[in-house]
Symmetry: D2
């Protein structure tokens, strides 16, 4: 009966109807003389999401993983040393990609639930061979554990050590959701994907490259073609692409950028933070813990809830899916069975996230978790009321 | 940001994505040779929703109000005496229509919150002039107050009095949601609209007419054209219509009938009852009352919640709308300011209705209603868990 | 493979993608405080299509036939004498409706292919009992024969005779396509439907009523409810409706009005005339005749093509449908078998109508009609090139 | 007014409404337990389009260019020698990719308008150093010139020389349109894209790899990650993907595969051939030539029309676009200004392609090309009538 299912995974996220409508269209001529009227403003407007004025945008018909590859192969050479802190499924996979692409990969295995270890980076840069490090890779928001890392902190440490390594940030599940400041934080390569904060289907990935990254791309020796910056830049400057772009997603992107601009990117960040905190209050009301080890590193786009001993978190996800038409994220790899994940990013408001909390409550109760039904919803409601934006408070007067 | 808004009005209801997809189409030739392949099964399958084998279906491009007019003008003559019990906005409007169309209208004003008064009918039929009554009009589900009437009871009383009056039932907000048995209950004219249990946009109304009603239509002297049964029947028998039908809605109807058939109409009724009872548990947990005077007459498709003295229910609706992107039904006419209405009909499941309960909680709290946030959601969750269908309970194993 | 079929019927017409997108939406709250922001401008903007400043718009969830009924029952009383010239299926059905609704109906049977007979009206008004005529009904564009009548001429004759009859115009297949001037021509009731020039699905009908018609509605004694002007006017003035409106069509209407305004209504008329003339050139190139008896009365929205003796026009339509995925209009009633109809109204340009001409050619050849393949297309191309708007001619420079 | 524009480019192609409807959907959980019910049959059913039983399908969220890269990097090692015959924009770009990816690239520059030179391959394989050739790359359908190459012939020559080179085929604008027989022709890597014969938006690319190609991928030393076969195969075997797939396109693909299966792939090939021949007859009737040097190598999916001396083909394309809302393909690179291209692939029937021919006629006339309007349409109509499939001929009986 109910279709679509209630979607609380950390991406793909719910698509606003305006965006969905914009994508309900016929195909179009990708060499049309007026095609650049669509595309050129996209490149421009995307930069506001990255808070970048000096960076350059690349758009690929690929999922976010492709943008990882683009960032790496355009700016590094085979055998280059890179540092990746691995503290969840996605940072771990980025490390795997580094090895597959032939980089000398220093993968730091960090306990899942922790964030990027700034002190360790500080120490590492003090070592004699630090000069060989070409890039530091930071997953700003580890989707598997619901942990956010301090990107600005990484930059501070690099600067303090006067280290020239490129700072690459996986912002797939953070950009257009939580605070991100490309220029201010000195990020060299930032990566986003369409199916998260951009509220689009999967299939479009974005790289924002700093001037330094672009300079690096001129000497980088990795073999590349599909994701080659130069090939794209050549066509992009006139509003075209080196091969057929995904016009349906570009049309959707136009509307999602409009929606984000109407709200204002800072307000988007604030909204994500406020909705996320409601979820964390709910978790506390249930007497449970988040996978994020400390409140300061809790992600504002996804919360991984640790289930009590003796409970299999996969049961919660299965129960929600089969009985209550609701999708939560499963625990992946090292935290399989121990956590389930509530995605709270993209097109979301209080009532929608309250329904996700309610769904979690009923499913957890079914699985024998001892909590009071309604307690999480109540805690979140109380929090949302306390923190209602003034604008909202005035809305109904 | 959030679009569409969360919709908890008692119609138009939420459209399942399968239905929405089916209506995303180009126009088609309404005289095409294969057009009857679409239309003929619709007439057949609609009868299952009415639980009628002997009735005949008429489909009008109109809203439900048009089907009221069709039922009346096809089977009655000017000056005919009709009885309408008026106990809410919609039964009241039906009485108004009767007067406008020139019938001798006995409008029984019943307190809002009460149902069709069976005893009064019994008494009325015992009066000497009862023979002049040509029709008894029953609003099965009064959408304004959340009250369901006993249609089978009306038939029993008519039969006990051996009275030949036509039994007309407004089932707009009940058919395809709550129990309805055209043939078994001896209903002569039953009326449905597309935007309720059929989970379609407004614009298609349905009349199911008994053999007795069809016989009456042959001598009924009301002037009619657009809604004329005979004109329609003549074209319908070949699968066509006397004037251009709303093909987009017919294509949507095909899918909504499929969805209802997959669930089974009795299961649809059971689901509505169970979800509704959860809402009533929530109301009780809040310490509030429903507008429906007694539990036995509470509607399974809409609950009118009475707000405490000193509170304006319109504030709750406004707050929900402006602050929380949520639409509830306002109190209409006699209950304006006193009730707000939670619609729970059509494409709905536990999580969706829990979000409506949560939205009501947060909005009521904002309006100064003293209730514990989460209490309604908790009560509903507990009820849904207790009453989980065996099939569901097994689903996640 | 090909879906949808190529549609060249005189309605429903092809829906522009922008309109289709606008209707791909969730249901909404029809009592929402901001609902009038949608509806009020619709009432205003619709008047531009009627070229009326003083008229009042009524919008019904019904097909165009319902608007006929609205025009009649709101302004006339039972037994009133009306004149209907019947020269095609639709004018004939309007006469039938008049009889069904209880009017004293003077149906003038005119040869199909002819237009409204101005001289006969002149003579009729000169007769002694002319004062009893309450309304003159004119089908501006008879869809069955492809004939346009002279509405302004009817007004001139009524005025010359100083006759107070209401002038009612069926503009279903003409308004928003061919010239129509409500105020200037002194039309009292003009009727339009969504599925023609408005390029929407069926289900929304429009009446524009003059001040005189509104005055008549205050004393008109026909029983009415669903289509009652007063009931609507009461709700419309605040931007609402007396019963649930078809929101999906209203949202589509917003966009179709925008599209028409962008082109400019006079340009819309010119475009229809120019495209239609191309079709007529094609018919001549084929060596065939139109059903319209004279060029001056040929319709700019539909052309009924007379097939040669010995050919069944239904074969052409069947062949086009089954072999070539193309819908043309069949010959109806008196011209069944003799004509097939090419609809050329709504969202249409040169290339689209050329494909309709080509489809007619291939289907007619298959049916044994002796014409040179390509001749009609060639004649139309030559005409379109000769008459290219200056704006277009400059477009490609 | 007209939107979308008439699309006659060689991809993206027109999307059937059934496919478009299927993609009008909400996002879904890509780790859901029932997700493989969607995906597993896709892998299976795609093989029918390649006429392969032993091959393995890989699906990438990328445009077709990504699949080129996948084919190359999964099966070759840096420095491997590959042969690419370059006779159009797309074969030329494939050669560029080979160089960019670090292969020893033998690019054979062939006159545009010619096909893959079988004799030259024969000679080349007879040379002493032929053993070093690791792969032969064939563009089955060169979209820039409208030329089809003889893939089976390449295999015959490789086999005759008993040469072990991998045979890679760019089938982006041919597969699911014109004859392709993976297993029978001994193709090792065949590449398709969603926006051509699959009638989907851009964004999904397909590689079908032979057992021999899969074996090669185990030792191939090119660095790869995003497009890595092994990473995909590991996840695909359970119906999942190594990173987020484009679910909207997968849902659309399900329907496009259904549509193709309903017609039957051989019938799809026959239809493309018949429609294409109609276009060629039109070109001849205009007194013009195709870019394809000889009829035997003319493509059945796109026709590049050579304009007369003194005419700029870009004018024809601009005129069609700006005046007639029609997109044709421009002449690219070496044939810029000399040819314009009519795409005739994907969801297409007689009437649709006739409209493309008519659009070409009117635009060419506007640009001063001396041809008789209607001549091309007439020639195509005559051809289509002569060659009507028996099934169609019977359809209208």
């Amino acid at each position: 009966m109910t279709e679509p299912k209630h979607l609380f995974i950390p991406g793909p996220t719910n698509i606003p109807d305006r965006v969905r409508r914009a994508m309900n269209l016929a195909m179009e001529d990708i060499r049309a003389p007026d095609f650049p009227e669509l595309t050129k403003p996209l490149f421009h407007d995307l930069k506001t999401l990255f808070k970048s004025e000096t960076g350059e945008i690349f758009l690929f018909p690929s999922s976010g993983t492709g943008a990882w590859e683009a960032a790496l192969t355009n700016t590094l050479s085979p055998g280059d040393r890179v540092i990746v802190a691995s503290f969840g499924q996605f940072s771990m996979l980025w490390a795997k990609m580094c090895r597959d692409l032939g980089f000398e990969t220093e993968e730091w295995e960090i306990p899942w639930g922790e964030a990027f270890p700034l002190e360790r980076l500080e120490e590492r840069l003090a070592q004699p061979d630090a000069a060989g490090i070409k890039a530091v890779l930071v997953c700003q928001n580890e989707t598997a554990t619901g942990v956010a890392s301090d990107v600005a902190g990484v930059r501070r440490i690099l600067d303090a050590a006067d280290h020239p390594a490129l700072l690459m940030v996986d912002g797939i599940s953070s950009i257009a959701c939580i605070e991100f400041r490309m220029d201010e934080w000195g990020v060299d390569l930032a990566i986003a994907g369409s199916q998260k904060g951009l509220m689009l289907p999967t299939g479009l990935s974005v790289v924002c490259a700093s001037r330094k990254a672009l300079a690096a791309s001129e000497t980088a020796k990795c073999r590349r073609s599909y994701f080659d910056f130069a090939w794209h830049a050549g066509a992009n400057k006139d509003g075209y692409f080196p091969y057929t772009p995904a016009t349906q997603l570009l049309r959707g992107l136009r509307v999602s950028l409009d929606i984000l601009a109407e709200e204002g990117i800072e307000n988007v960040w604030t909204r994500h933070n406020r909705l996320a905190e409601g979820v964390r209050r709910a978790v506390r009301a249930w007497g449970l813990e988040t996978c994020a080890a400390r409140p300061e590193i809790a992600s504002d786009t996804v919360t991984a809830v640790v289930v009590p001993e003796g409970i299999d978190s996969a049961d919660v996800v299965r129960t929600a899916y089969h009985r209550y038409n609701t999708s939560f994220g499963v625990g992946l790899s090292k935290v399989a069975g121990r956590v389930f994940r509530i995605g709270h990013l993209g097109a979301l408001d209080e009532v929608k996230i309250l329904s996700g909390i309610a769904a979690a409550e009923i499913a957890m109760r079914d699985c024998g978790i001892n909590l009071q039904a309604g307690s999480g919803v109540g805690a979140a409601i109380d929090y949302y009321r306390e923190t209602a934006p003034a604008a909202l408070a005035a809305a109904a007067e």
